[in-house]
Symmetry: C2
Subunit: 124 residues, 2 copies
C-alpha cells in the first residue's frame, strides 16, 4: 500500500472524529481546494479546516475506496446526513512533506439517464 | 508508474481512436460497468463496447489524471462534444490477467453552491 493511502484514510478519519487539530496537520499551509461543480475555491489550511468544521448537519463519512500512487491519490466517500447519502470523489496532490497541497472535489448528484440505450443497460 | 496506469491510459486512447477491437481487449468478458448517478448497469464486454461505440456525438476524450495501485485505478477525463465539456471519473478494478473486471462511473454535472459559505470560498 502506498503511504499516501494512509494519509487519505487518516484525514477522513480525523474529519469523522471532528478532530480538527489532527485534520489540519494533513494539509499544507497553502493548500488549494477546488470544488469543480460549483466552481468554488478555498485557499489555505485555515479556511479549509473551517469549511469542513462548519459544514452543517450531523454528517458521517464512510470511505469506499482509496487509490494512491507517487503522483497523488483519490478517495471515494459516502457522507450520510440522516437518511440522505452524498457521494464525494476527491483528487489529492501532496507536497514534499507528504501533506495535501491540492484537492479537486466532485460531489456527483443523481440524475435520470438519457433515452436510447435501454437495450444495453439494466437499472439497479 | 504502476502498470495499471498504462492500461487505463490505453483504453481511453483506444476509445478516442474508435479502435473498438483494441478497446475490447482491455476488458474481461464478464466486466460489469455501473453508472452510479443514473443507476444503470452494463454487463459483459460485448454490450460495454457497444455502449461506447454507439455513444452519440463527435466526442473527444482528454485524460486529466490517472491514479493506480495494486487495488485498482481511477481516471478523470474530459469529454468534449463540440462546445460542450463533460467530466468523467471512473474507478476500475482488474482481474488476474490485468483486464478491467469492473468500472464504477461518475459524470458529475455543474450546480450552484449552497448559501452560507461565501466567507470561505471564491468562485472561479
Amino acid at each position: 500500500m502506498h503511504p499516501r493511502h494512509d494519509t487519505v484514510a487518516g484525514l477522513w478519519r480525523a474529519a469523522e472524529d471532528r478532530d480538527w487539530s489532527t485534520y489540519a496537520d494533513f494539509f499544507a499551509p497553502d493548500v488549494v481546494c477546488d470544488m469543480r461543480q460549483t466552481r468554488e475555491r478555498v485557499r489555505g489550511r485555515e479556511d479549509w479546516v473551517r469549511f469542513n468544521s462548519e459544514y452543517p448537519g450531523d454528517w458521517h463519512v464512510t470511505v469506499q475506496r482509496v487509490v494512491a500512487d507517487d503522483d497523488g491519490a483519490v478517495s471515494w466517500v459516502e457522507v450520510r446526513i440522516g437518511e440522505h447519502v452524498e457521494t464525494g470523489v476527491s483528487f489529492f496532490r501532496f507536497d514534499d512533506h507528504g501533506r495535501v497541497s491540492s484537492i479537486v472535489d466532485f460531489w456527483p448528484e443523481p440524475y435520470e439517464p438519457p433515452a436510447g440505450r435501454e437495450h444495453l443497460v439494466e437499472r439497479y
